[in-house]
């Protein structure tokens, strides 16, 4: 892929998947690269900025583009003294929120972009930029309540329903503003950022070999995916190859994370459609899985299982057999429950056609992961860009074309059964040997990436190293950034009472996007 102007410089980029790093020194190269990426079928995966004024008095932008067979990071250093840049939102709609995030954290503004705060609500002053190097770590500010200008819909009989940030169930906080006529939704506008807790700044206070603990807590339900992505970035930077046994155990735990979340969602989706039986049974199966985790891995949620160089704990001699029995029992139950779901006409009536997102819209918006696959976008890193041990597992892709709640339910069923198959393969072929190797400090001023297909979709960790085993900057990206805007479209024309069901069918992370 060539830029529209003079050639860009390419650098190697250590990662667990094929990755390139391109330098775009000129502004038209930055936008030219974006255009050629778009034309080449790339998705904008992440956008982050770094304050490099201590090195060369410049800020830098980094855009990560996901292609079917590789990841490309385009880097653009803003001219000295400049804090505005050409936005990418006209090409990639997701860039709108990403750019607002960059503006809130570093004070760099996309030209012509939405100027409303996204991550900054009123908890810190407008002139304070948490990720600038001259912003003191000790800074604390009183909250100043600021009204958020939601976009109003005018018209006869239109009224607004504000929901959140504290929701009625045991879920995360976010604000939804519905504009409705009668029960029909004309517009939904999301306001997120409530759980922003300064993850990126916190990373800079941790050593390279402890960053995985924070990565695991970017979005707790994707702890394995994020901690693996972090470790993959660090291992790439240090040239470490993880022992076979360790990478198999990582995949085993990642698939168990996928199964656990899908089981929880399948139960909740039944419940939101008035089928409480589903919640009872799927939550029981999930609990069985968590208890097996506790017995075998020492934790119901193995947040700190993936560590740089391998895994923190080995399986006992008996464990593989016990896990094998557990997944066999689980598979039997899931197959039976799937038949019940499929044959329950009342349930299917609620699922079908609800929250439909067609292929074209999903592509335009850059949908990722599970909802993308339910709208006919057949992308899964485990299939397209398999990293060890997935390069030897031949993961089967789950896709549907309908793009409705029913399709997202079917994807979950398919993926649970596929993950069970993968768990079995991993357990049967489990290599003997070490579970960890020593990881040295990475060289300073380098960038490494980790890209892992979590249960929601691809999670990315971009690690910029500092001297002496420190973290200069670490950016984590959850696919919820891409998928939250999908919900605003999927709900259109549906009725308000179907929102919980449609929302649950996406089940996006607030914490993962808020950071």
């Amino acid at each position: 892929m060539s830029p529209s102007t003079s050639p860009v410089k390419a650098l190697s980029l250590p990662a667990n998947v094929r990755a390139r790093r391109l330098l775009a020194p000129e502004q038209d190269q930055w936008t030219g690269m974006a255009e050629s990426m778009k034309a080449g079928g790339a998705w904008l995966l992440a956008l982050w900025a770094t304050d490099d004024r201590d090195r060369d008095r410049r800020f830098r932008l980094h855009a990560a583009y996901l292609l079917p067979s590789e990841l490309v990071v385009v880097e653009h250093a803003l001219p000295e003294g400049t804090i505005t840049y050409p936005g990418l939102d006209a090409l990639f709609p997701v860039a709108d929120r990403l750019q607002r995030g960059v503006a809130d954290l570093l004070g760099l503004r996309a030209e012509g972009g939405d100027e409303r705060g996204w991550l900054r609500h009123g908890g810190w002053p407008e002139a304070f930029f948490p990720l600038r190097r001259d912003s003191p770590a000790t800074a604390r500010f009183p909250v100043v309540s600021v009204a958020y200008p939601f976009i109003a819909v005018a018209g006869d009989g239109v009224h607004e329903i504000p929901v959140g940030p504290v929701h009625a169930g045991t879920i995360e906080p976010g604000n939804f503003r519905f504009s409705v006529v009668g029960e029909k939704v004309l517009r939904l506008e999301e306001r997120l950022g409530y759980t922003h807790k300064g993850v990126a700044r916190r990373f800079e206070q941790l050593a390279q070999r402890e960053g995985q603990r924070l990565a695991a807590r970017v979005s707790g339900d994707s702890a394995v995916a994020f901690s693996w992505a972090y470790c993959a970035a660090l291992e790439g930077l240090t040239g470490i190859t993880v022992p076979d046994r360790a990478s198999a155990l990582r995949a085993l735990v990642l698939e168990r994370e996928r199964i656990a979340n899908h089981l929880g969602d399948l139960g909740a989706l039944g419940n939101d459609a008035g089928f409480a039986f589903g919640l009872t049974h799927f939550s029981r199966l999930k609990e069985d899985l968590l208890r097996a985790n506790e017995q075998v891995l020492g934790a119901r949620y193995p947040f700190d299982f993936v560590v740089p160089g391998g895994v923190a704990r080995d399986l006992s001699g008996e464990a593989p057999r016990a896990l094998r029995v557990q997944v066999d029992t689980l598979e039997h139950a899931v197959v039976e429950l799937r038949r019940i779901y499929d044959e329950h006409s009342g349930l299917q009536d609620r699922f079908r056609e609800a929250g439909r997102l067609d292929h074209e819209l999903a592509s335009t918006l850059g949908a990722l992961g599970l909802p993308a696959r339910a709208s006919g976008i057949g992308r899964d890193l485990r299939v397209d860009q398999p990293w060890p041990p997935y390069d030897r597992l031949a993961t089967r892709l789950a896709t549907r074309t309908e793009g409705d709640v029913a399709a997202r339910v079917q994807i979950r069923f398919d993926e649970v059964l596929e993950s069970i198959r993968l768990c079995r393969l991993l357990l049967d072929r489990l290599a003997e040997g070490r579970i960890t190797v020593e990881v040295p400090d990475a060289e300073p001023d380098r960038l490494g990436l980790g890209l892992i297909e979590g249960w929601r979709g691809p999670v990315l960790v971009a690690l910029h190293t500092g001297p002496g085993g420190t973290i200069r900057r670490c950016h984590s990206h959850d696919p919820s950034w891409q998928n939250w805007p999908l919900l605003e479209f999927a709900i259109l024309g549906n009725i308000v009472p179907d929102f919980p069901l449609i929302n649950k069918s996406f089940n996006l992370s607030y914490s993962g996007q808020d950071g």
Partner: protein
Amino acid sequence: MLDVLQRIRRTGIVSEPLPSAEVVEREREQLQASLLAVLGRALCIRHVDAGSCNGCELEIQALNNPYYNLEGAGIRFVASPRHADVLLVTGPVSVNMEEALLRTYGATPDPKLVVAVGDCGTCGGIFGESYASRGSVSKVIPVDITVPGCPPSPLAILKGILGATSRPAR
């Protein structure tokens, strides 16, 4: 429909008590007796996520699975703070949730109890105190009991709730 009901009935019997179910059952009965002694009625809980990573939410949700049978013990989650006796607060209190947490606390009728759940709610956890995080629930509202853990198990959360109810409410 008959077919579905038959499957439901057959699947329903699949449920078998796990070895640890006995322990859960004992805790549950203890809890129920204690609640009746203190309140003489069901205990209503309102959960507030004040910047959690969502790990604690997973374990709070697990309390509603059939193994723990929380409602059977006389505890239920309610949709509004107006109906709550107890606030179950997770997260290190992100500054963006501070106002919502204070308002939720204010909307909860007295007497009320606050249980801070997880390492973050207890002491800020890995996020600590920063420009974006207050560093624990007790820095923002009065806390009666803390349940450390990352995330704490459902049983630990259950014990925390029990611990809170055995104290005099505010």
